[in-house]
């Protein structure tokens, strides 16, 4: 195997030839370097895209800090090299390496990928290839690292099933320790790789795909997933933490600019709103909050450790944080005059949100963002984001009159039952908002419309509905491009081909893995990059494999169909999702579930955890049922 010295020597001669060489050097403040030869378990945490993106990923930052707190573990980082650096590595026949100590990835015990979105899949394969690690799990032996993956895309792991030894479904903070323990025990006793996989499969939240076999009906629909070993759980329940652990504060500060070059502090996890298109809203239930004191302290610590001039208070819906007023007051008092910019994204459409931003002394530079998601009240009821148009215009007036010039509005086209009138309404609404702005601040007022395309995501109430076709999307976008124009108006949209790829990958079954593999063989990588994405390679891959992409994306799936991700349980019952889907067809909305519990299934799934974490830590009701079978932390926790 290549040594760090060889890799350093290569870097010395190569880095001036590539763009942004600091992507490949490591050495930043707060990176952790341990004594390689005296650490039992070495883990490479990999974000399968550029350093510039990966450095802003909070999930990996959490794991990096937690893992490095263990004296018997070291965690280092690796990212996808850009094509210029990849060419240099391949030309020199050198493997991808870790930034901290320049060890080849193959020298690590565990490779942990984060897969926050699906368009990273080919990059993950490319990284394994650059590391000299066999792409297919079945081809790896006891001498190869264990390859694990987690992140939001892993809630439908099937399109990546043959490449990943074990998926982590859900939150990583606790399960990662258990994985390390199992790996260490396995290494000590020198058992086979299959033994390691069987042990991992018994950890709550770990899915080992090679222990299952998928069977299909003649029409291509999944018939059943067979567990081939008694250790293989069915379903695999996601892992969650009962209480959010202390927020990470030792962020590595990059030497170059990155997408979110700031200290992120997660104020809550989960969301109670129940927007029917929202994947994160379902998979990250239940809502758990950090206290105001905890958040303020985390900001203070993070600033002291990093020197960042920007703080991002992260959540799926900031306005819903229980003590949002107290939080904003505390933050603005504590950090006033420190030349900080504090962002509070995901605010509700109400003028109170403008008060919150005002209190944070937002610099107004970046504009104010609202996400109505749909432009007619009918449509917003179908997607369960009920906001009246009047309320939206009131909020817009408050925004323009309080000093912001640019209002960014996010919409989606392609919602179920959308008509061309609903699309036209996006343009009309933007113009109505701009007209309000003009009345208040004249020609300085601007509206930027960001229009993406709806993808029916797994585990959501809309998981059964078809996606718009390329032709439908194009026609809707053409309408918007024609009508949403003029001074003060700007329109951004996603290419329909990007949407198709994301839809195929997020809705795929095990057979899709062959398409991913063929696409990568054909040269697909950096699919999330506009100038790199090659739709033709994916079409060729489907042809080569003999699959029809429309089967995955343009078919209304019957409610009784077994879906490729049904063996992965988010804790929310499929019946609840189906009920909510039927309600949407009747235009019936559901309130915020803080007001009233709709029994989505989270509480019975995690009753034991809720009982241990009482009060406002969770935004679910307390468990009232007597302690019983449903009360264990997890079916498998009993065995441990």
């Amino acid at each position: 195997m290549h040594t760090p010295v060889e890799i350093e020597a290569f870097l010395e001669r190569t880095l001036l030839k590539v763009q942004k060489p600091a992507r490949y050097t490591g050495g930043e403040i707060n990176q952790v370097v341990k004594d390689w030869d005296h650490i039992a378990t070495k883990i490479a945490l990999v974000f399968p895209d550029l350093y510039d993106l990966g450095m802003s990923n909070l999930g990996l930052a959490i794991l990096y800090e937690l893992l490095n707190q263990r004296p018997d573990v070291l965690a280092e980082r690796a990212y996808a090299p850009w094509s210029d650096m990849e060419a240099e590595l391949r030309h020199a026949s050198l493997p991808l390496y870790s930034l901290e100590t320049k060890h080849p990835l193959a020298a690590f015990d565990i490779i942990g990928f984060t897969l926050p979105y699906e368009t990273l899949y080919t990059n993950a394969l490319n990284i394994l290839d650059l590391a000299g690690i066999p792409l297919f799990s079945a081809q790896r032996n006891e001498g190869h690292p264990l390859v694990i993956a987690g992140g939001h895309a892993a809630y439908n792991p099937e399109p990546m099933y043959p490449f990943i030894d074990a998926f982590v479904i859900g939150e990583g903070e606790e399960v990662i320790d258990e994985i390390v323990d199992v790996q260490q025990a396995w290494k000590r006793c020198g058992a086979s790789r299959q033994d390691l996989l069987l042990s991992l499969a018994q950890i709550w939240g770990v899915y080992v795909p090679s222990l299952y076999e998928a069977h299909y009906h003649p029409d291509g629909v999944l018939s059943h997933l067979e567990a081939r070993f008694p250790e293989a759980q069915l379903p695999v329940l996601k892992r969650i933490v009962g209480k959010l652990p202390p927020a990470p504060t030792h962020f590595i500060v990059p030497y170059i600019d990155t997408v979110h070059n700031r200290a992120p502090v997660e104020i809550t996890r989960g969301c109670t709103r129940g927007c029917r298109f929202c994947h994160a809203g379902i998979v990250s239930r239940p809502v758990r909050e950090r206290s105001v004191a905890e958040i303020v302290e985390a900001i203070e610590q993070a600033l002291a450790n990093t020197g960042y001039e920007e703080v991002g208070l992260l959540s799926l819906s900031s306005s819903d944080y229980t003590d949002i007023v107290k939080l904003v007051e505390a933050v603005s008092q504590r950090f006033v005059g420190r030349h900080l910019s504090i962002s509070l994204p995901s605010l509700r459409i109400e003028s109170f949100s403008v008060d919150l931003m005002d209190a944070l002394k937002d610099s107004r530079r970046s504009g104010f963002t609202l996400a109505p998601e749909a432009a007619t009240e009918r449509m917003r009821e179908i997607i369960n984001k009920p906001v009246s148009t009047g309320q939206l215009l009131d909020t817009a007036r408050a925004i323009y009159s309080r000093g912001w010039h640019n209002l960014k509005l996010y919409f989606m086209i392609g919602h179920p039952s959308e008509t061309i009138e609903d699309v036209q309404a996006i343009s009309d609404l933007c113009k109505a908002v701009l007209a309000e702005g003009r009345k208040l601040i004249g020609r300085r007022a601007q509206v930027t419309a960001g229009v993406s395309t709806f993808i029916p995501k797994p585990h959501t109430p809309f998981q059964w509905v078809p996606c718009d076709t390329l032709e439908q999307i194009t026609a809707k976008q053409e309408l918007l491009k024609r009508s949403l124009r003029g001074p003060g108006l700007k329109l951004n949209w996603n290419s329909p081909e990007d949407t198709m790829l994301e839809a195929w990958l997020s809705r795929g079954d095990r057979r899709m893995a062959e398409v991913v593999y063929q696409a990568w063989l054909g040269g697909a990588k950096f699919d999330a990059w506009k100038d790199r994405f090659r739709f033709d390679l994916w079409q060729q891959a489907f042809t080569a494999v003999g699959l029809d992409p429309a089967f995955y994306t343009h078919r209304l799936r019957p409610l009784e169909e077994l879906l490729p991700w049904d063996h992965i349980s988010t804790g929310v019952r499929k019946k609840y999702l189906a009920d909510d889907y039927l309600r949407s067809q009747q235009g019936v909305t559901r309130d915020d579930c803080r007001e009233r519990c709709y029994a989505c299934g989270i509480l019975p799934s995690f009753a034991g955890l809720r009982r241990l974490n009482t009060g406002d830590v969770w935004q679910c009701p307390e468990v009232k049922s007597p302690q019983g079978m449903a009360d264990r932390l997890h079916p498998l926790a009993i065995n441990k």
Partner: protein
Amino acid sequence: MIRTRITFAKTPAMRYTGHLDLHRAWERTFRRAGLPLAYSEGFNPHPRLNLASALPLGFTGACEVIDAWLEQDLPLPDIQAALQCALPPGLQVTQIETVDLRLPALQTELEASEYSITFLEPCPELADRVQALLSALSLPRQRRERDYDLRPLILDIQILPMGASHPLDGSGQPQLNLRLVAREGATGRPEEVIAALGYDPQLVRVHRNRLLFRVG
């Protein structure tokens, strides 16, 4: 308000951090140090930091200079101690002093820079080529589609004896010392000199030894 003048080394850990990012690294260092960096007034306040001279990507420097304005008058040893704990790998403070608030901007005072060049590959006919370069009356070159004459920007080139003790040595390859003009609008670039000598500017290590400021 005080104006501090800091002499610092930019070491290999930060070789690939460009000028703007270095500026930001300094701002964050002051923030970590808890020192009251002064900010400009106005809609979009900027930290009052002023680097004497941009160091191109890939170069290291022994005696770089930055001016930093602090809102409070603090004793120098306290400032130095606070910075020391907050510096990122890749920056080392060698000297710190307070200077008159009314002094002109550092860039306008810069006259010349001294560099040492370590070759990563053998470089045939080095002595002859250096001699030829220094003897030339003009060295017409093109950079970013602009024609210019490199020769008047070269003040001196010296070949160091092999194996001279240099912080970056280790390659066993020859080293050069360059002294180049570094005035606003007339800056000699070491990689241009290497290219003019007929060598690959990507296969050298460049270390800036000294910044020479106008005296008085």
